[in-house]
């Protein structure tokens, strides 16, 4: 048995809505595996099935070799699960929460303190404060501490960084990297694409289907387009006008800049500058850049949306 998580043709419907459509993937031991996708893509459903909290309609899944349906009791002993919503007791203090989760897993804070030390030490000064009064970043550290306190073999984190400030998000991912070095398999989901680059492998999930599974490096390498980062004084007008550029493949806002993708060798930077000057833009900068993982996912998702539109369009006729 090599894989920490194995999933075969897993499907789940809620009434008419297909939350998961025949998903298959596997996560190696000690891997940091990310699920990237927008809200409603089916991430939470998948995590709940793996955490033995939901039953799939069809397909099979194992965690550390145990089947999620038959061996749910075994799985519940060896996994750490952090739901998307903050789910600790708000009326208990930080320390009481941690102690509670330690005891129900048959361990103590002291026994596994080493494992959570780096995370917990940051909130330890507030250990007598009620969990409901913590800031978002601190809540999330406490939730991670609680999910880790029994030294799980596999950690399932469902959108752990949603609603958390940028600094805390970065800290959180550094913690995950450290946990990985301790041999814990981590399966994490996030709507933030920049976090994908921090995983060993990422799966892009949309509308209940996995569109691609590869390393962040491969994702970037496979980007088929050329890419310009374009800035000018008026970003809104810029986005609008770039769409009209005949050679443009896609245009996205990216912070204060617009990312313009194009078929390679089709257009040059000076051509773009000339085009924008003609449409009345000032202070135009165009720079050839390497795609980030976000560019790649925007490209993938756009591709699938267009495919969907084509099929549904055909159905209408």
């Amino acid at each position: 048995m090599k894989n920490a998580v194995d999933v075969q043709n897993l499907s789940k419907n809620y009434g008419d809505t297909e939350a998961l459509k025949e998903i298959s993937f596997s996560v190696g031991k000690g891997e940091l595996f990310g699920f990237i996708g927008p809200d409603g893509a089916g991430k939470t459903t998948l995590f709940r099935i793996l955490a033995t909290l939901l039953l799939a309609d069809s397909g099979a899944a194992t965690v550390e070799g145990y089947e999620v349906v038959k061996d749910y009791k075994k799985i519940r002993q060896i996994i750490g699960y952090m739901p998307g919503r903050f789910s600790l007791y708000q009326d208990l203090t930080v320390e009481e929460n941690l102690r509670f989760f330690a005891t129900i897993f048959g361990t103590t804070i002291e026994e596994n303190y080493e494992l959570i030390k780096e995370i917990y030490s940051q909130i330890e000064p507030f250990k007598t404060r009620k969990a409901g009064q913590l800031s978002g970043g601190m809540k999330q550290k406490l939730a991670l501490s609680c999910a880790l306190i029994h030294k799980p073999e596999v950690l399932f984190l469902d959108e752990p960084t949603t609603g958390v400030d940028a600094v805390s998000r970065q800290e959180f991912w550094e913690m995950l990297k450290r946990l990985k070095t301790m041999g814990i398999t981590i399966v994490v989901s996030t709507p933030y694409m920049d976090e994908a680059a921090l995983c060993d492998r990422v799966a892009l999930i949309q509308d209940g289907s996995i569109m691609q599974i590869s390393t962040p490096y491969e994702v970037v390498e496979a980007y088929p387009m050329g890419l310009f980062s374009v800035t000018s004084t008026d970003i809104y007008q810029l986005l609008h006008d770039l769409q009209k550029l005949p050679q443009a493949h896609s245009v996205f806002a990216f912070g204060q800049a617009a990312h313009l993708s194009y078929k390679k060798e089709n257009v040059t930077a000076s051509e773009v500058i000339r085009f924008l000057k003609e449409t009345g833009h000032e202070d135009v900068h165009v720079e050839e850049i390497k795609p980030t993982i976000e560019d790649c996912f925007m490209e993938l998702m756009q591709g699938s949306e267009q495919a969907n539109e084509r099929t549904s369009g055909r159905a209408d006729k």
Partner: protein, 367 residues
């Protein structure tokens, strides 16, 4: 076992953190007992009445005196015409009017029949009934004492109200109140506390942990057994100290029956929480399905024997009726287990039924 203890400790923390609910839980029995004991009462004392004496002789004067000296009535005013009767009632102070016909004493002597009219304010039918009965009783007594010299034979009924000689309402309310409050604390509080975990999402974490369903369920009800038991003791003590409600039978048996009823209510609470997902729904079900039957269909306020057949059947499938019957029997009659084994068995049966149902319904996964 250690896991279970950890869980119970957490439950106690929840309860003590929520001091407002705690205050209500322990304040409620005191307030309700005082309300029921002092305010809601069927006892008659100093009811105001008026007299329309159209005869104004020695006999009518004596009868009126008998009424006032009984302690139940107080003469409010004398009326002069029939027209004043309605006016007197309208003012709302008078609850009974006594009308003597003209030549009352003379007719009594000559024909051996004289009419006296008793008019009650039946906008409160129960009280009117009791007042009219009391007044008739006093009239009959007077007549008997008058005839004593004339007719040597007479039947004197001597009544005695067993177990509650003074007909105190509070004797009835204490057992009923115990049933109501134990039901409220046990069933309502447990069903709320499990559905609260579902609402806050913490149930998701508990389910994903190695805790067994039995540990979660029993850990949830454990603290409430304590609270409910303390409450039962408060009610019994308060009833005894303030209102003189006795415990004539064994205190141990009384506590045992209370424990049985608490277990029954707790298992019912768990059952409710197993089939609902929100605190609001659990609360509605608890209030409608538990509180109303406990108050109305248990013999607490309205006697079961006087209800229509259908409602009587309903009463017989509601556990509170058996509990109230049992503890009344212990507290007021001083009976032992021998007399209430049937009620005890039925309560045990209900408890087992609810527990089996809850274990069957408990979800080891999210919906």
């Amino acid at each position: 076992m250690k896991r279970f203890r950890g869980f119970v400790v957490k439950e106690f923390l929840h309860i003590f953190r929520d001091y407002r609910t705690l205050l209500i839980l322990f304040g409620m029995p005191v307030i309700q007992l005082i309300l029921f004991g002092f305010v809601i009462t069927n006892e008659i004392k100093d009811a105001r009445f008026a007299v329309l004496d159209l005869s104004k002789d020695e006999t009518t004067r004596q009868i009126t005196e008998k009424l006032t000296s009984s302690g139940y009535f107080r003469l409010d005013r004398n009326l002069n015409t029939y027209n004043e009767i309605e006016e007197a009632f309208r003012e709302g102070e008078i609850q009974l009017v006594v009308v003597y016909e003209p030549d009352f004493a003379r007719r009594l002597e000559r024909d051996h029949v004289a009419n006296v009219q008793l008019i009650g304010d039946a906008s409160d039918p129960n009280t009117a009934n009791i007042l009219v009965n009391y007044a008739s009783g006093i009239l009959t007594n007077y007549l008997l004492s008058m005839n004593a010299e004339v007719i040597p034979m007479k039947i004197v009924p001597e009544t005695r109200m067993m177990y509650n000689q003074e007909l105190k309402g509070v004797f009835m309310f204490v057992p009923g109140l115990m049933a109501m409050l134990l039901m409220l604390i046990s069933a309502l509080m447990t069903s709320l506390s499990i559905t609260r975990e579902k609402e806050l999402g913490t149930m998701e974490l508990l389910l994903a942990s190695p805790l067994r369903p039995m540990q979660i369920v029993v850990g949830k009800v454990f603290p409430y057994v304590f609270l409910a038991f303390i409450n039962a003791c408060i009610i019994i003590l308060l009833g005894w100290a303030v209102f003189g409600v006795p415990v004539r039978g064994s205190v141990g048996l009384l506590l045992f029956e209370s424990f049985l009823f608490i277990s029954m209510a707790l298992s019912l609470g768990i059952l409710i929480s197993c089939v609902t997902n929100s605190q609001q729904l659990a609360m509605m079900i608890s209030l409608v399905a538990l509180m109303l039957p406990t108050i109305l269909l248990s013999g607490f306020i309205f006697p079961v024997e006087n209800m229509p057949m259908v409602l009587q059947w309903l009463c017989h499938i509601m556990p509170p009726m058996y509990f109230i019957t049992a503890i009344k029997s212990i507290m007021l009659k001083g009976n032992g287990l021998f007399f209430i084994w049937k009620e005890t068995l039925i309560l045990i049966g209900f408890t087992l039924f609810f527990i089996l149902m809850s274990v069957k319904k408990f979800k080891i996964r999210l919906s």
